[in-house]
């Protein structure tokens, strides 16, 4: 090895050249990086921008051959029209009601099951848990068919029950929370038992506070699920008394003649999107955490 030529050394002149080239490359690379990212970011953001400015345009302005990038006259009236056209007020309340009730019930069920799987001993525990996990592989559409039949038989069509009950149990959330509970040392549980603390009190005082971040993630994802659900409510509801906001939004504006009042439509879309943005701005951390663990949307 010793006879091998050691790497070429450089001379003073080359050094300066290399140093200069190095700096130039660095600047160019940084420039390209930022340019690319900014262009991509613009593309990502553009639909939102277009949604908001379109919602404030008049129909006449919207139909100008060359679209304006900012509304000439700001038409707040579009929003009022949107609320009436799509009955957004009523649908909004429906959605919030379904979201809150199903989130609360779902949390209770999830916490109790996760506790049983994490802390209690019973026959068939592991088999049952494995069975639950296995159902996660099956696409939801397969359940939808029978569930549709089932709720029809139960006479649940057109009710809030049908929107809430079938989706109360999420195997994934049970799994997530069980893993979280398992990380809490068992000694705490045993100590609580020695002190005569009841299970429920222990759950409430120790486990729930310790797994709060996960519970918040679950809450947000569950609420977003209600907000964004489209297929199931469309199948099982037919009146505005029980329909959810996304259905109302799509159905109110299904006019492909090209003559639809798009600014009003965009106003409705903005109304539906704004709560999501607010949640995103204030609770981004929990959403991103929940998402990177689950990969499930809503």
């Amino acid at each position: 090895m010793a006879d091998k030529k050691i790497m070429t050394t450089m001379h003073e002149k080359d050094m300066q050249k290399v140093t200069a080239a190095q700096t130039v490359t660095k600047i160019i690379v940084q420039f390209l990086l930022y340019a690319f990212l900014c262009i991509m970011a613009l593309i990502i953001v553009f639909p939102f921008y277009w949604m908001i400015i379109s919602s404030l345009k008049s129909t006449v302005e919207y139909r100008l051959p060359i679209p304006t990038l900012f509304p000439q006259d700001i038409m707040w009236g579009n929003y009022i029209e949107a609320f009436t056209a799509a009955n957004l007020g009523k649908l909004f309340m429906n959605t919030v009601y379904v979201g809150i009730v199903s989130t609360i019930l779902s949390l209770v069920i999830t916490v109790l099951s996760a506790f049983a799987f994490a802390r209690l001993e019973f026959k068939g525990k592991n088999a049952l848990f494995a069975g639950l996990l296995a159902t996660m592989m099956i696409p939801g559409e397969l359940f939808t068919i029978t569930n549709y039949v089932t709720v029809t038989k139960f006479g649940w069509l057109d009710s809030f029950t049908v929107l809430i009950v079938p989706f109360l149990v999420s195997v994934f959330y049970i799994y997530l929370l069980r893993q979280n509970f398992l990380q809490i040392p068992n000694e705490l549980y045993l100590a609580a038992k020695v002190d005569g603390t009841s299970d429920l009190k222990y759950l409430w005082k120790v486990m729930i506070p310790l797994s709060l971040p996960n519970l918040i993630s679950i809450t947000i994802l569950k609420m977003m699920g209600a907000w964004n659900s489209y297929v199931w409510p469309r199948l099982v509801t037919s009146t505005d008394d029980y329909r959810l906001i996304t259905n109302g939004l799509r159905d109110a504006f299904t006019d492909m003649s090209g003559q639809a009042n798009i600014p009003v439509q965009m106003a409705a879309v903005t109304v539906v999107s704004i709560p999501l943005f607010l949640v995103f701005i204030f609770l981004r951390k929990y959403i991103m955490k929940g998402v990177s663990r689950s990969g499930i949307k809503g």
């Binding site: 990212l37 209690l120 019973f122 159902t135 397969l142 029978t146 149990v169």
Partner: protein
């Protein structure tokens, strides 16, 4: 000893009480559907109406599957689904990878841009689908004075003629192009989040080592970044395929729920087919759902097999 046994028994009881609500709901809404789907799928022309009327179906066997597969509408759905999956998964994965790598290479504005790129995740796919519809839509289509929409106007800046993307008489490929753009836009945030998370957990020393060895940037990307990220890439591709085969609401968002009103050729997908069959053809819907499950299962297995060979450690 007796006391101990009693205690165990008590604990078993308690566990089942805690699990009762979950188990009951799962039995009705998860376990029964699995059994029932099989039952419905194998009774020819089964429908709930018929069952309420006292008959299950004509004969027990594979007739439903045969009818579904032979039915042209289903083949179109299958074709649309496959096409969209095959187009969107690679495009969104590669784009997400490039964006994640770029994001990981900058310092100022990194968090801000990261937030921007995550934005489409927290949206209602129907609602934003309607925005995309509006952007591609030609207002006053067919009149003497149409407004070609913002996308056509932007393309016009580069000298392109306006294209009929989604209005009446629009071509199949134009429709598919719009859908692909929307689905990719929608799929990017999750992929970027996962890939960036992966990049940030890669030991920085590998990059230092590559620098010491004068590795060109492209080679760092192909020989170090991609292999080290391969588990995340595999994950993103597998979930992408699963999501792609279940594509439905993005199309409803843009084209409305008949998914057809425009060019004549249906843009319906497998999931759409299943939903459309509900109400009178539950037997065929079940057969289609089982076919979908089988496809997803096979594709996932292939993906896992390939990624096991290609990912390291």
């Amino acid at each position: 000893m007796k006391k101990f046994l009693q205690k165990i028994k008590f604990e078993e009881w308690k566990a089942w009480i805690y699990l009762a609500p979950a188990v009951a709901l799962l039995l009705v809404f998860t376990v029964w559907p699995i059994i029932n789907t099989l039952r419905m799928a194998f009774w020819e022309d089964y429908s709930i109406m018929k069952e309420l009327g006292g008959t299950l179906g004509n004969e027990f066997g594979l007739k439903n599957f045969e009818k579904v597969i032979k039915y042209r509408g289903f083949i179109d759905c299958l074709k649309n689904t496959m096409l969209l999956t095959v187009l969107t998964v690679p495009i969104s994965t590669i784009l997400a990878l490039v964006i994640a790598v770029c994001l990981n290479a900058i310092k100022p504005l990194q968090r801000f841009l990261q937030t921007i790129f995550f934005l489409p995740y927290v949206t209602n796919s129907i609602a934003i689908g309607m925005v995309f519809e509006a952007m591609f839509n030609i207002v006053g289509f067919g009149t003497s004075n149409p407004s070609y929409g913002i996308i056509n106007n932007i393309l016009g800046v580069f000298g392109a003629d306006p294209i009929n993307w989604i209005n009446a008489g629009s071509g199949y490929w134009q429709n598919i192009a719009v859908l692909t753009i929307y689905i990719v836009w929608n799929a990017l945030p999750f992929k970027i989040l996962i890939l960036l998370g992966g990049l940030q957990s890669v030991n920085k020393q590998y990059y230092d080592a590559a620098k010491i060895d004068s590795t060109p940037r492209l080679r760092v990307f192909t020989k170090i970044t991609v292999p080290l990220l391969s588990p995340m890439i595999a994950y993103v591709v597998i979930t992408g395929f699963i999501g792609g085969f279940k594509e439905y609401s993005s199309i409803v968002g843009i084209f409305g729920d008949d998914m057809q009103a425009v060019g004549g050729e249906s843009l319906n997908t497998m999931v759409g087919y299943i939903y459309d069959a509900l109400g009178n053809q539950e037997g065929r819907a079940s057969a289609a759902a089982l076919i979908l499950f089988a496809i997803i299962f096979v594709v996932t297995m292939i993906n896992m097999y390939v990624s096991k060979k290609k990912t390291h450690y």
